[in-house]
Symmetry: C2
Subunit: 333 residues, 2 copies
């Protein structure tokens, strides 16, 4: 295993400490239990928004903490859910009296631990609502998940819900707009290589030299099928087909197109993918009105990418465009 780490046991706490030092203008970090909150939390009268999950998917979620997006992020061990304890602590730390929204990716561990934390917070008088992101069309019921997995569409849910909270919406309204994004966003990914979880020290799966996995999960869990490597355009077509057919997206729709790198894929490749995806959407009469290209929901150093399409309307577009100031997404401030 070749990694820039010290003791593999300390990867998350050292990374979070470094994150806090690098972005002290935006966040504070708690070392025990581990969580990241915006510097000025709690914001009185504003709905607090908390997300979290296993580490290794950076910049998700810590990179999205700041004005206009998340109030707190709770990183678990690499590819492992955080326990209820830090989720509860983060929830209390961001409660400004207007309640707290939990944005949870659909993995069994995350669902259980966020639920427990929500119950404990409620017992302490904090009103909590939860939404479950399940944008991955690749498979239903896979390793770690009952139902569909939550993947890169989560970034869009966090940005748009964050903007709704930022403009002063109440908890019910913020939860509703988050649910609306979840209803209109679909994703699917591909892996060219596995990744190595530091405390395991070995690749989490193997792929032959000429093999790729279509529909991969963000922890390397199985997708739809393993096929021989194909040209980028053909791979894009394989991912976009199931995404577009799912809701379905139809001619006349306006969409946000996100091409997300899994961590180890160069930007030139992500833009080659974007080019083809935009072509396919144009051929179907779907208008790409907002775009995002880069590493937003990664699987450590995995080579691969995912495509996410979100159907926009005027309100979601306005909320997407609203100012945001985080380590990983920033505009308008």
């Amino acid at each position: 295993m070749k990694k820039l780490v010290n003791d593999p046991k300390n990867v998350v706490n050292e990374a979070v400490a470094g994150f806090g030092a690098a972005h002290a203008d935006l966040v504070r970090v708690s070392a025990d239990p581990i969580f990241i909150v915006r510097k000025d939390a709690p914001v009185a009268g504003k709905v607090g928004i908390v997300s979290g999950g296993g580490s290794g998917h950076e910049p998700m979620h810590g990179g999205f903490v700041g004005p206009g997006m998340l109030d707190a992020a709770v990183p678990g061990p690499v590819f492992t859910s955080p326990t209820p304890d830090p989720i509860l602590a983060a929830t209390k730390a961001v409660d400004g009296g207007a309640g707290v929204l939990h944005i949870v990716k659909n993995y069994t561990g995350d669902v259980l631990n966020f639920e427990t934390a929500a119950d404990l917070a409620a017992a302490d008088g904090v009103e909590v609502r939860s939404v479950l992101v399940n944008d991955d069309v690749a498979v239903k019921d896979s390793l770690y998940t009952a139902g569909r997995r939550g993947v890169a569409g989560t970034v869009l849910v966090e940005k748009i819900a964050g903007a709704a909270a930022d403009r002063g919406d109440d908890l019910e309204s913020v939860a509703l707009v988050a649910e609306r994004v979840i209803g209109q966003v679909r994703s699917m990914g591909v892996a060219l290589t596995p990744c190595v979880v530091p405390h395991a020290g070995q690749p989490s799966f193997t792929l032959a030299e000429d093999e790729i996995e279509i529909g991969i999960g963000i922890h390397g869990e199985p997708g739809r099928e393993r096929i021989k490597l194909e040209p980028a355009d053909a791979i894009v077509d394989r991912l976009l087909g199931p995404i577009l057919d799912d809701i379905p997206f139809v001619a006349g729709d306006k969409v946000l197109l996100l091409v997300n790198g899994m961590g180890g894929t160069p930007q030139v490749e992500l833009y080659i993918v974007f080019r083809r995806a935009a072509e396919v959407l144009a051929e179907r009469g779907i208008e790409v009105t907002r775009t995002l290209v880069g590493n937003f929901t990664t699987s450590l150093e995995m080579q691969g990418m995912s495509i996410t399409v979100l159907k926009l309307d005027d309100e979601l577009t306005t909320l997407w465009d609203a100012p945001v100031q985080t380590a990983a997404l920033r505009w308008g401030r």
Copy 2:
């Protein structure tokens, strides 16, 4: 070779087309010759700023085109200098009557081709000044370079010179502030793995399973030494020592600390590196007042990172903080 590409010959033109489609709000792209300009170029009365070089170092330079930074970027083939032709075309496209600054990384091909383009532009009546970035303290005179190589410090030169041009400085003043940054910025990198240039199809060098290269160049060209893999903190110390001793940086200095990923290194590792680098600087009495962590000057999918330290003063800090709106760096707009 496992990559998300179609024909390896078309990597750069397809990636640039995708970049243009993804960021049509910021840039226009020319397909032949290949270059990227800000959408509203030329800006009348503003000094134009052009940079460029081989592709594969994304987001450098196309990701830095936009208000407050570059007016144009000229991507050559992967790891290969652009010819004078597109550099000349880009220079003319951004000339708003106040002259054009070329920001050139110190590689023999880049230096020659930017010089030729500058001469041709001058013959066409465009005033051109050039600055040469050579921030890499690892080696003097290496493959492709006489003198020191230009690496991730280039991003800081581009941001600060871009801000100077944006506030209305004349060509001479913009060149002077760029030279001042170049005088005060130093970098050094490490590789854990090689990368594969698409048209070559093979790794550009080899490293044993337990071996890393200290002082690597951004094209994989040789550094100072190959050593056994060490804990991250020890590697950081190996890079920071030569950087800090070079100018030297001393107690009381205020600095910008950039931890740059080479493309294939997960963010958790970059933040582990940042944590140690900030510790070392604090121990030496050097104050980190600005930070940047992420993939800014990459070597395709290489695993590794570089550390860059820029000595700041009030003017450079103000220019760093000034609004910028590009695909890869954005704040204040």
